[in-house]
């Protein structure tokens, strides 16, 4: 911690949050809000005079609310930066000014109520996301009595109680009467491995954390009796089994079984725990002085962002696996990469892990990030939009729909074509799909290439096939996820990959129906996951337009389906495939033939025989 605080190449920005990130790998621009801190950290000597006179007393969050602090306070003794901090929410110095005692006593005059938030604009090449997790709030486990009994504490609260820097100066005392407990119990898997409350996964660290805590008690209070209630002890890491054995050798009683109820004996104040000991095959009653709930780790809530600001996962378009943690680019081969290039994960934001694993992963993330930075330059896929000036009517649609402001509007009066800024283009293809004049070529995902796929798929037995468009990042990857999970589904689906569902031109849909497709699926990311900011909203609008048109033409709109499937939703992908297969059976040959007849009279798809041509000349002309 101290090293990070004084490293010449680390600019430490505390009280700060990222509000926006734009750009691409190697060239990100982050907007960071540094909240007004009111205490000049470079001047503060941590003398503490300010806190001595501060009249506001509130629970100390660092001490898990087990003791109190003042509005102006040192976050904790070893805080970095080592500066007092003014908690504006509880201070009386604002709105209206009722107090200013700290200002008066501060010799260094480093407190100033008039400073304001600062917005910083940072240019960076890579981003490491290390936003961590949260301990589980055990209140839904009402039978353990956390909210009712003072002497039922969480494992985090226990840490403060046993710590020399804690509210009791390291003396383990029970909160109800300040006495040292002689009989301590631990309940494992609180919030973990449950399909009804908390989370279904194992939180990874709680078994060893409890083993550690039993050893701490055994060291300080050798006479104390300890009981651990568990499902099974997972001591799988290096050195872990040794610690577990030591704990047992210290006399800690490990009881296999989770308690059914905890009540407080009103006469003695003891906590009475009822448990079925599944190894001994009997019901047991344990009388304890203190009970520690070994709580699991859960992902930070999306609504955890303050003041209604966007959560960092939304800002960076990070997807989540079904457990709620961020999803890696590949679970084995790219475990610290986000799907977005240049963004990496470290620590518990990716999954629950202990300190050693967090440090290990942070090293991996740093190397991945440093590789990009060290290379000095980055190569970007040639999947960008190009203008065909001859076809452009200089309307403003492309510039309006571009999520990245990569297109400078045309100016009809001045005779100026729209300008395409390649470095800013992320390649979603929304402009190409929306352009009414066919004047935009989406490189590597050109009309001709996609229509050729539709033709090939429907060349034989079209009645048995579903043409599906899937975006690269989410729904195509969701299909991959179904595959790696070996989820079986009916074989009718034929996927066509585009980078974004925003690329799916109306014309592709009409093309498929005109070539005899019974069902068409357009699938993309959930709105919050869209890798092209809001391109997916154009997908939705476009599909709605096609539905309306289908209705007018007498084609059942149900034959065009729209689904949002994330990369982690293999289960959903397989379910959608089953549902579509059922729908497919409801589309008759006559209905398809009628659709083909209707559409052949329209000019919604490209006429047969006039296939769109790839644009080699344009590609060659593209500035290198």
């Amino acid at each position: 911690m101290m090293d990070a605080g004084r490293h010449p190449r680390i600019e430490l920005l505390v009280n700060s949050e990222v509000e926006d990130v734009t750009g691409f790998v190697g060239n990100y621009r982050a907007t960071v809000r540094r909240r007004a801190s009111y205490v000049d950290a470079s001047e503060c000597t941590s003398c503490g005079d300010c806190a001595d006179v501060c009249p506001v007393v509130v629970p100390d969050e660092y001490q898990q609310g087990l003791s109190s602090r003042r509005a102006i306070h040192l976050p904790f003794p070893q805080a970095v930066p080592s500066s007092y901090y003014l908690d504006a929410a509880s201070c009386l110095g604002f709105n209206p000014i009722a107090c200013g005692k700290c200002l008066e006593v501060c010799d260094k005059k480093c407190i100033d109520f008039d400073v304001t938030d600062e917005l910083l604009d940072l240019e960076v090449g890579t981003i490491v996301v290390a936003t961590g997790m949260e301990p589980y709030d055990p209140r839904p486990y009402d039978e353990y009595g956390y909210a009712r009994f003072d002497d039922v504490v969480t494992s985090m609260e226990f840490e403060r109680l046993i710590c020399a820097g804690g509210p009791s100066a390291g003396e383990l005392v029970r909160p109800s009467d300040g006495k040292v407990p002689q009989r301590v119990g631990f309940i494992q898997c609180v919030g973990s491995r449950s399909t009804t409350r908390g989370v279904p996964y194992c939180s990874n660290i709680c078994c060893m954390n409890t083993v550690k805590q039993t050893l701490q008690i055994a060291e300080h209070y050798p006479a104390a009796r300890q009981t651990v209630f568990y499902i099974d002890i997972r001591a799988f890491g290096k050195g872990f089994e040794d610690l577990y054995r030591r704990s047992r050798e210290e006399g800690v009683d490990y009881v296999r079984g989770l308690p059914g109820s905890v009540v407080r004996d009103p006469e003695t104040g003891e906590l009475v725990v009822q448990v079925e000991n599944t190894l001994a095959g009997r019901r047991e009653e344990h009388r304890l002085d203190m009970l520690v709930l070994s709580v699991g780790l859960v992902p930070r809530k999306l609504e955890g962002a303050t003041n209604g600001r966007r959560h960092i996962d939304e800002i960076l378009s990070l997807s989540h696996t079904s457990d709620g943690f961020v999803m890696e680019s590949h679970p084995k081969l790219k475990p610290v990469d986000a799907p977005t290039r240049g963004v990496y994960f470290a620590g518990c934001v990716e999954a629950p892990k202990d300190v050693k694993d967090s440090v290990t992963q942070a090293g991996a993330a740093a190397v991945r990030a440093a590789n990009v930075l060290g290379a000095g330059q980055v190569r970007i896929e040639a999947i960008t939009a190009l203008l065909v000036p001859d076809l452009c009517a200089r309307c403003k649609i492309c510039a309006d729909v571009c999520p990245f402001n990569a297109i400078v509007q045309a100016d009809k009066k001045a005779g100026l074509d729209p300008e395409f800024i390649e470095a800013a283009c992320a390649g979603c293809g929304t402009c190409a799909a929306e352009c009414p004049f066919d004047a935009i070529v989406m490189r590597h995902f050109e009309d001709a290439q996609i229509e050729a796929q539709i033709d090939a798929i429907l060349a034989t037995d079209p009645l048995e096939k579903i043409v599906a468009f899937a975006c690269n990042w989410c729904s195509y990857a969701g299909g991959d996820n179904a595959g790696t999970s070996r989820l079986q589904y009916p074989p009718a689906i034929r996927l066509i990959r585009t980078m974004c569902s925003g690329r799916v031109d109306q014309r592709f849909i009409w093309h498929a129906f005109e070539r005899g497709a019974p069902l068409v699926l357009v699938s993309g990311c959930h709105f919050a996951d869209c890798h092209y900011i809001d391109a997916v909203t154009w997908t939705q609008r476009r599909v709605e337009k096609v539905w309306t048109k289908m209705e007018k033409l007498g084609i059942r709109p149900e034959r065009l389906q729209l689904e949002w499937i994330s990369a982690a939703e293999g289960q959903k992908f397989a379910r959608v495939m089953r549902e579509l297969d059922a729908m497919l059976r409801g589309v008759s040959a006559e209905e398809v033939a009628e659709t083909v007849r209707i559409l052949e009279k329209q000019k919604l798809s490209r006429p047969k025989g006039v296939a769109a041509k790839p644009e080699p000349a344009l590609a060659a002309a593209a500035p290198a």
């Binding site: 090293d3 990070a4 490293h7 680390i10 600019e11 430490l12 920005l13 190697g26 990100y28 982050a30 976050p75 904790f76 070893q78 500066s83 901090y85 940072l122 240019e123 960076v124 090449g125 981003i127 490491v128 290390a130 997790m133 301990p135 840490e159 403060r160 046993i162 050195g239 610690l243 960092i312 934001v349 967090s358 440090v359 942070a362 190397v367 990030a369 440093a370 930075l373 330059q377 190569r379 970007i380 896929e381 040639a382 470095a423 590597h444 290439q449 050729a452 796929q453 090939a456 990857a477 991959d480 179904a482 595959g483 790696t484 070996r486 074989p491 034929r494 996927l495 790839p614 290198a624």
Partner: protein, 198 residues
Amino acid sequence: MSDESPRIGVFVCECGHNIAGTVDTAEVARFAAGLPDVVAVVENRYTCADPGQQEIQKAIAEHKLNRVVIASCTPKIHEPTFRHCVAEAGLNPYLMEMANVREHCSWVHMKDRAAATAKAKDLVASAVGRAARLVAQDEKTFPVTDAALVIGGGVAGIQAALELADGGHQVYLIERGPSIGGIMSALDKTFPTMDCSI
């Protein structure tokens, strides 16, 4: 190269039993040979392995291939591999197309060999149709800003920031709270060393 008529090579990967266990890859290869513009078809046990890649490069030279279709796994794993492979043989990497007959076919239709094989053929036909219309592309390079943003000042963020900074890169370490340290700083001791967390 784009101006020439397409000469497509199709490489059908068995991926051991992963694909060949469900899909009749020999049948897919026979089918691919009959597709328009296809001038060479090769079946491989493991196309991504060195011998598999050498087959691709050999075929590009022998048959003067100007397009390559690889029927194997998801492009999310091996698209970079095969782009690199064809580039080594002198082909623009954007003239390589993959048909995902593993994640999207053999692994999800394991109980229906006939249907899986029929679907694999379609996926290959689709990729061949697309490949015939692919255009060579040049990738642009952009300079990199030599600085990293580390979001979160817990143990992982601190460690990542230190590693990057020690490596000579500028780091901005962003922390929401008034001090770095995160949850770790509230722990008394950490396992397995039982030492102080700060």
